[in-house]
Amino acid sequence: MTASKTTSSSDLILLACFAAAVMAGPVILAPFGAGYPDLLQKFAIFGIFAIGFNILFGLTGYLSFGHAAFLGAGSYTAVWTFKLFSMNPIPAIIMATAFGGVFALVIGFISLRRSGIYFSILTLAFAQMSYNLAYSVLTPITNGETGLQLVQTDPRWLDTTVFGRDYGSTLPSSDLFGITMTGYSGFYFCAVMLIICFYISMRIFRSPFGLMLRAVKTNQNRLNYTGVNTRPYTLAAFVISGMYAGLAGGLMAVTDPLAGAERMQWTASGEVVLMTILGGTGTLLGPVIGAGAIKYFENIFSAYNDTTLMNIFSFLPEGLQTGVVNILGLFVGDGWHLTLGALFMLIVIFLPGGLMEGVNRLVNWATARFKNKDDGAPTPEPAAS
């Protein structure tokens, strides 16, 4: 990454551009067939998840394979807050974030005693334990395989006593002071959260704390030898990323009040790793872009099947058409995971820095070309991210 000088003004510009792009998301993405709220919500939620994961993995280099546990825990907390207190999303996401943080504190306190692959396996073990327990012993809390759902007879204590709201016989959906959290209002709620999260992550990246985390990634031994105790820093990073994951889980419950244990499975943890790597580990924008790209392509690819492919390639001669469709058919529809795995491998093999590295390489290459043409002309610095 280019360690160029970044002033707070250029950061502000980046933040403003980011906020504008997110807010205008429905318009910008409409031509790509992604301008509808369900998908946009996913972009925002997984963007938050990946930003949080990046604070841990991108800055400290600790590869956690158990982050989905915090996501799932956040979802369960949010649904329980809906059930017990209020259908307002704000208490739900506060509780989800807080619980994600506490959960991460416990797991991180233990896991961070080891580093490298042992850390990965410890986090993986904890996540698998949470997943298995959510399916078995914790069924009274998690409702097992059915998933935790809202029911009419929930107490909703705050709603009934403080706000005096009675939902009658309808099953309520979450609403922010009367605005239902579905469709575009749900998206904008998530979008505001995403922008806040992006801002916080930016502040962390630029802070002395963030510098310390990078130092941990670069050479932890040297830090230890100079007398720095790195544990509090890594633990703080772990808890922060756990809170992000909890928030993301909470938002999932806000947009769709249902929580299931499958969100905790370790393949879900693998997905967020992929998002971060695809976008660019250790960059600010990368994880959001990675999350968006994966959710977008998941959506697109899953929608195709052999018939639609046949239509697309109907211009080819018959034998060729079936051949092409048979090959492409492996990668779309149910085969989306195959594409995901192949993409994962390609990125790790050829572009370990992710899309952001690719963009930077392109920009560098372009500027080099530009320089050669007009000798000595001032060239714009590649946008630091």
Binding site: I110, S120, L122, L124, Q128, S136, G335, L340, V348
Partner: protein, 342 residues
Amino acid sequence: MDAILLQILNGLDKGGAYALIALGLTIIFGTLGVVNFAHGALFMLGAFCAVALKSLLQVSFVTESATQKDFLGNPLKIETPYIEHWFGDFGSFLIEYSVPAAILMAIPVMLLIGVTMERGLIRFFYKRPHAEQILVTFGLAIVLGEVVKKFFGANPIPQSAPELARGMVDFGVMLGFDPGAVPYPTWRLVYFLFSLAVIGSVFAFLQFTTFGMVVRAGMADRETVGLLGIDIDRRFTIVFGIAAVVAGLAGVMYTPIQPPDYHWGMDFLVLSFVVVVVGGMGSLGGAVSAGFLLGILQSFASMNEVKSLLPGIDQIIIYLIAVIILLVRPRGLMGRKGVMES
């Protein structure tokens, strides 16, 4: 007492599978220094060798029976596998014994897969950080799983053990218990003995052959072996192939115990990683003993008496042990001092 014996026996077959997968994992780690998250997928591929062979042998043609009618009055259709048609009794014998026969098929297939994997992908990752090795092999595991799903479908495909090994062995009688106190499926016993045999031959191979000696030397100090003029890379490629074969054989023989599906790779991977860590990274004996130990502990944890005492323990016992081991003895039960301890 007989209950305890039964649980130990129940743990042996699963423990054998864990031990075989973990053995391969730890050999790969010890020689190549690569963390292979696709090793569970190799186990799954082995299992699907058995499935493929079975369905290959059962390719049949349909004849209409001249005498028998089905319930609609049409002539009854009889499916005869070609192999039975061609070879008669030997053909039916082959179908009956398709799972053990698949061993013969799995050895070359898995060796080929292993060598291809090492030459085509893994060798580019020797010098890259462990995190990237984990990620790329994780991606490969997903790809392999999905390819298998594409060909064999998402549902588990039950395989049957040969007729001879389908029954139960009354193990208790031999040890003086009442008849019927310790029943044990014969195939599981076969599996246990098979895993012991495979483990024994891997150890013998490493211990008593020149090739094995070079490999062991390479595990201890790769650079010096290279300086002695030995092409250690080529040996390690073969080692990777052998590890793939071991995992594949474990998978082939496990199919009658549990119907294989494409998800096996992931399921067994996590568990066998835990086994490797508990046994100690790079320690062969550690991997084997930890495999059996965890298999037996898991079977004890699923006893009703234990479950009523500690609800949910059967679900988490393995992970719990891994966490404890990693925290109090990070090099594992039998790991060498200083190897991957941090």
